[in-house]
Amino acid sequence: MVDNTSSTPVVTEEDSVYWKTNLRIITVCLVIWALVSFGFGIILRPMLSGIEVGGADLGFWFAQQGSILCFLALIFFYAWRMNRLDKQYGVDEE
């Protein structure tokens, strides 16, 4: 089982606020995640077809490279944001 010796097993008010904030950050990140890949890369590609990128269009760039760069930014943002949130709510590890 999970090692609970250094924390109280009961959920505090703080913990549930922490979790709700986490869920909100996840939701925002996932909206961007879907927008750059399924959105710009596939479904919305026709709308971006006017913007030319080196012999192709912006949607093609998002599908082949742009989405990957956005994914990277998202993961690092989330890690940075959550590690800050952990400290703010005092739920981080020593």
Partner: protein, 593 residues
């Protein structure tokens, strides 16, 4: 020194390096065998995960599939990277906090059910073995090429090497070996791409060269579009397939990524929860280095191939058989012909090899006028493109040897990681966890090795009739993982409502519908001619078998919710467990039973 010796030298040297490292860091205890004692730095872990993750599918197969299809296969690029976002946000930190060794342990504990754990093990085995089939294909092709033998014999030799290699060490040996393998494979992938990008666009960074201009000032992609449409093929950058299928396919690969045991296991090996978050990011950094280059490799190779077959332009005369046989620039065709993966035939007897799309009505007109009798490049296996690429571009011999070593590194590292996941599922979860709990550490390790051997035999047998090119086979494995494991893990963390019956029913429903859909299209156990549908004309609208994982996942979620709603509520101590998994505080080292 001839090319054959040079290839052997590069492959031999890289193997010596991996084996040296494996011996130096040999696993002693079971805990080291599975999780490397949790002492791995996030950057190192990221590199090892990248090597573990990037398999024959990414290295050998993917760029070839993109090269011959163009935009529509962007799904591979988005799908196999986008999954890391899901992994980092939805799974990795919580599974690390939970602190066990395997994915099925989490499922067993969270859903307080031995049945759930058993079902999870079955799901893992089905997905992992399908995945190993794809690796075996890649190993077969790479060995076939560099030993200059038929791909079938390459496969058998490859299987023996994989086995010898995987039993050597557990995760600990594998982690450091995989760091070395990452370095080998990324160097091997990048160097030829840089050379080719310089040749074609003058830009040393292939990812930028893709959107750059060729020597005559035209954008590379515009030139490519022109040439391929002249030959009757689909425009490279345009969409041709169904949008619905492309979305579902991309989604399947993404959630499959986050449901694969050998990748998730990696996040158990970092010291802290915060490290698990960073680790996913570092993994993607190292993966992106290859994935940003891959579309450039594909497009540039397609351009080079078209130029080789039409040296006088698409309006001029095609390449002659005499040139193919005598010009050293075409020697790659002879060597690849020996593997049985490349073939040409002068159908109209004019001494030239016309490569064009003979299904295109416009080209059929031109063919009739010129006296062509069909496409004469009769066989070009997509999986050979990356390995043949440096030869097609006439790069120096040492680059070709390096690519052979890189391709094998990619296939072997993933095969080893998967076999480790399979063996831990059998010995740790199935035998020690359920059937024979009193098993000694020594016999557990023995069972682990026996199950590795069994997994290799099964995947070689099934790999004799592969259901597609390596990356497509691997895509099926992702579909299976997406439909079975990912939903169970995600619901286990984000919902307290899902109970034991719900999870078991959901996993089984997701696995079974996906497996049946795949078999209906690819043949039962991939045996040819036992399929009722084809991916050209799928059973359900535009949804191909490789895209069905996303639908299977949806079925899994729905069934789990409905069944949980109808059965007994989750007990309080499980709700407490979920609460504690959500909070990083108090994550100690992992505890074994």
């Amino acid at each position: 020194m001839d090319q054959f010796t040079l290839n052997l030298l590069f492959v031999g040297a890289s193997f010596a390096l991996y084996i040296g490292i494996a011996i130096w860091a040999r696993a002693g205890s079971t805990s080291e065998f599975y999780a490397a004692g949790r002492g791995v730095h996030p950057v190192m872990n990221g590199m090892a995960t990248a090597a573990d993750w990037m398999s024959a599918a990414s290295f050998i197969s993917m760029a070839g599939l993109i090269a011959f299809t163009g935009y529509d296969n962007s799904s591979y690029l988005m799908g196999w990277t986008g999954g890391y976002v899901l992994l980092a946000l939805l799974l990795a930190p919580y599974l690390r906090k939970f602190g066990k060794f395997t994915v099925s342990e989490f499922i067993g504990d969270r859903f307080y059910s031995k049945t759930a754990r058993l079902v999870a093990v079955i799901c893992l085995l089905v997905a992992s073995i399908t995945y190993v089939i794809g690796q075996m294909q890649g190993v077969g092709i790479a060995f076939g090429r560099f030993l200059e033998i038929d791909a079938f014999w390459g496969l058998l030799i490859g299987a023996c090497v994989v086995f010898a290699y995987a039993v050597f060490g557990g995760m600990k040996g594998v982690t450091y070996t995989q760091v070395a393998q990452y370095v080998v494979l990324i160097t091997a992938y990048t160097i030829p791409a840089v050379f080719i990008s310089l040749q074609l666009t003058g830009n040393p960074i292939p990812a930028l060269g893709l959107f750059g201009d060729t020597a005559d000032g035209e954008p590379l992609l515009a030139t490519l579009n022109q040439i391929v449409t002249d030959l009757g093929f689909n425009e490279y950058t345009a969409a041709h397939g169904s949008t619905v299928n492309m979305v579902l396919f991309t989604l399947s690969l993404m959630i499959g990524t986050a449901g694969l045991p050998h990748v998730i296991m990696r996040f158990f090996t970092v010291p802290k929860v915060s490290d698990a978050r960073w680790s996913a990011g570092w993994s993607l950094v190292f993966i992106a280095l290859l994935y940003l280059t891959a579309p450039a490799v594909g497009a540039m190779a397609r351009l080079n191939i078209s130029d080789q077959f039409w040296p006088n332009g698409t309006d001029g005369e095609a390449v002659s058989i005499e040139t193919i046989e005598n010009d050293p620039a075409y020697s790659w065709m002879g060597t690849w012909q020996q593997t049985g993966l490349l073939g040409w035939e002068d159908r109209n007897g004019d001494g030239l090899i016309q490569y064009y799309n003979d299904a295109n009505p416009e080209l059929q007109e031109r063919a009739a006028a010129a006296g062509w009798e069909g496409n004469e490049l009769t066989n070009f296996n997509r999986d050979i493109l990356v390995l043949a690429n440096p030869e097609i571009a006439n790069l120096p011999g040492w680059v070709i040897g390096l690519v052979a070593a890189g391709g094998l590194a990619a296939a072997l590292s993933t095969a080893a990681g998967l076999l480790l996941a399979i063996s831990s599922a059998v010995s740790h979860d199935l035998l020690k966890g359920q059937l024979t709990p009193n098993m000694s550490e020594k016999s557990e390790l023995m069972a682990a090795r026996v199950s590795m051997a069994a997994a290799i035999v099964v995947s070689v047998l099934l790999g004799l009739n592969p259901p597609g090119f390596a990356a497509q086979t691997v895509a099926l494995a992702f579909g299976l993982a997406a439909a079975s494991i990912f939903p169970a893990l995600m619901m286990g963390i984000f919902s307290k409502r899902i109970n034991n019956s719900g999870a078991v029913a959901g996993m089984l429903a997701g696995l079974v519908v996906t497996l049946v859909y795949i078999f209906l299209h690819k043949g039962w156990l991939f045996i040819p001619d036992t399929n009722s549908f084809t991916d050209a004309n799928p059973m359900l609208g535009p949804i191909q078998s490789t895209s069905f994982g996303a639908v299977g996942a949806l079925v899994n979620f729905a069934v789990a919710y409905i069944v949980s709603g109808m059965t007994k509520e989750t007990p309080q101590h499980i709700k407490d467990l979920v609460e504690s998994v959500r909070i990083p505080r108090g994550a100690g080292g992992a505890v074994d039973h």
